[in-house]
């Protein structure tokens, strides 16, 4: 029973948490790709930037969270989302839009986004230094231990505040995004522009507005993902390097240009990571007498320091066997 609790804590809860974070990043990448037709490499840095804004606001008003009983950074999240969304709109205006206007090939804009990556990383380091920071200043991470009402389960299920928040937030965001894309005028215009940008223009759809809305959504979701990840672990300036591959893998696994695919892809990558670094020896221990081999103390597919290779292999596999992704997106 304890083994099962261990599995729930280390795979189910961790997978849901990191999967949600990857999903939010991947949705942004997929939306930007379907509207602007380029792979936005600086997306992971928008996530870091969002977390940095949340950290900055937490440092300015550290007492807000304890006053309402939530993590301060979470209370500050709406403001950080607005700041990140504005930053995303202006990054587009300053760096990508002039290139689009010249009608350059998408790869040129991809290169520009790599430049934006380096610039954002430099800026973030300039303001907060290179060390990892805790997002908790006047408060502490809330940890909930749920004791199970079973004789054999002496270990509790452990959930942290940020884990609960991100999972709940993701459910809300999925519903909101679905309603936006299918029920609102601008959401439908986004889908129309993704389908056929030339016809969208001919129909009188204001494509500049659609582009702006895309950046606002992608930027806000990036801020949520970055902030919640930093709340659960810590804020590091090089956060984006660890996020870049998984979120792109998630977008591609789901099928680029397909928002629901990106959500699914996020969880595929998230669970693949947690399952592959999980110590299976713990689950097998009760059966050790029946096994034909000596059970080692740790038995994982991948040592946890090589976790980053997991999305890479999934990416390779999907590109070889199903290049359009699970949900049949646009081929890159």
């Amino acid at each position: 029973m304890n083994e099962l609790v261990f599995f729930i804590n280390n795979v189910v809860i961790s997978g849901l948490t990191i999967g949600s974070i990857y999903a939010l990043g991947a949705v942004g990448i997929t939306l930007i790709f379907s509207i602007l037709r380029f792979a936005h490499f600086a997306h992971a840095d928008l996530m870091t930037l969002g977390a940095f804004f949340a950290f900055f606001l937490t440092a300015m008003f550290p007492a807000v969270g304890p006053a309402v009983g939530l993590p301060t950074a979470f209370v500050m999240l709406p403001l950080a989302m607005v700041m990140t969304a504005v930053a995303a709109v202006y990054i587009d205006k300053g760096f990508y839009k002039p290139l689009r206007r010249h009608g350059v090939k998408p790869i040129v804009i991809v290169m520009a986004s790599l430049g934006v990556t380096l610039m954002l990383q430099g800026l973030i380091r300039m303001f907060m230094g290179t060390s990892a920071r805790s997002m908790y200043i006047d408060d502490r991470k809330g940890i909930h231990r749920i004791e199970l009402p079973f004789e054999l389960a002496s270990r509790p299920i452990v959930l942290t505040d940020p884990q609960i928040i991100i999972i709940v937030l993701l459910v809300i965001i999925v519903i909101a995004l679905h309603l936006f894309l299918n029920r609102t005028r601008l959401g439908k215009a986004m889908r129309a522009m993704s389908d056929n940008p030339d016809l969208a223009r001919v129909s009188g759809i204001n494509t500049d507005t659609v582009v702006k809305v895309t950046w606002v959504i992608a930027g806000s979701l990036a801020a949520i993902a970055g902030t919640m990840l930093s709340l659960d672990v810590s804020l590091k300036p090089d956060l984006s390097f660890h996020l870049l591959l998984p979120i792109f893998a998630a977008a591609i696994v789901g099928g680029v240009g397909h928002p629901y695919g990106a959500l699914a892809g996020g969880f595929v990558i998230g669970f693949a990571e947690t399952l592959s670094v999980f110590n299976w020896a713990v689950l097998l221990r009760p059966f050790r007498d029946y096994l034909w081999f000596d059970l080692p103390s740790t038995l994982a597919f991948v040592p946890s320091e090589y976790k980053i290779t997991v999305p890479f292999f999934i990416l390779l596999a999907i590109l070889v066997w199903r290049p359009t992704g699970l949900f049949k997106g646009k081929v890159l």
Binding site: K188, A192, D195, A200, V202, S203, G204, N206
Partner: protein, 234 residues
């Protein structure tokens, strides 16, 4: 005053002109048909009118106001609409969503117009919740034309509305075009099926090498032996 007037239009891609002085005019509630051999600049002319191609010389006017090189969004606001030949629907959007996108610039209640489009194209009414990409060629063309009608335009530009359709569908589409026109919409269209199209045309323009070769009423062009021999297959 003419609804639409194009005078001595020159234009093309890059430095090369494809149009070398095209003249056209259309009164309100008229159907104008552009015919001519491949590469004569028929579709290019429609694109030039709709601001999708740069006009280097000449002028285009809508009700006496210049719309030369105007932005497509601006033209939609001025009650013009354009149906491209290919890729003229949003395939993953439902039929109704396609029509709604046609009404994007409208902030008033367009439900009456939606009903009107369904009455123009009854086959669409049963498929309003179906993705437009799943429809047949003829029905897609109806979606495309319906989308363009949603702003209640005074002039609609159609680029080969019957391209790739079976003869049965072709005559159906022509009939729809007549009823749209009777509802008060000026139509300017490019057609490969020159004879059938000129039959319903008030005005016909025969373009060759980016210039008007013949300009007359549809009926006169059909009866002109020279036109018939060279462009209508005898």
């Amino acid at each position: 005053m003419a609804l639409f007037e194009a005078t001595n239009v020159h234009g093309g891609y890059g430095g090369m002109n494809i149009l070398n002085g095209v003249n056209m005019s259309l009164e309100a509630n008229e159907i104008g048909v552009i015919v001519g051999p491949n590469g004569a600049g028929k579709s290019t002319m429609l694109k030039a009118i709709f601001g999708l191609l740069h006009v280097n010389e000449g002028s285009i006017q809508l009700r006496g106001e210049s719309i030369t090189n105007a932005d497509p969004v601006e033209l939609v606001k001025r009650k013009m609409a354009f149906v491209p030949q290919e890729k003229n629907i949003f395939p993953s959007l439902t039929v109704e969503e396609n029509l709604e996108m046609g009404a994007f610039i409208r902030h008033d209640d367009f439900q009456p117009m939606l009903d009107k489009v369904y009455s123009f194209f009854p086959p669409l009414a049963d498929k309003r919740k179906q993705p437009a990409g799943e429809l047949s060629g003829g029905q897609r063309q109806m979606v495309a034309m319906g989308r363009a009608l949603m702003t209640e335009p005074s002039l609609i530009l159609l680029d080969e509305p019957t391209a790739g359709l079976s003869p049965l569908y072709m005559s159906e589409i022509f009939e729809r075009i007549i009823s749209i026109n009777k509802a008060g919409v000026g139509v300017l269209m490019v057609e490969q099926h020159a004879k059938q199209a000129l039959k319903i045309a008030h005005k016909g323009f025969v373009l060759v090498a980016g210039q008007n070769r013949f300009t007359d009423t549809g009926q006169n062009l059909i009866n002109d032996p020279e036109v018939a021999k060279a462009f209508l297959g005898g």
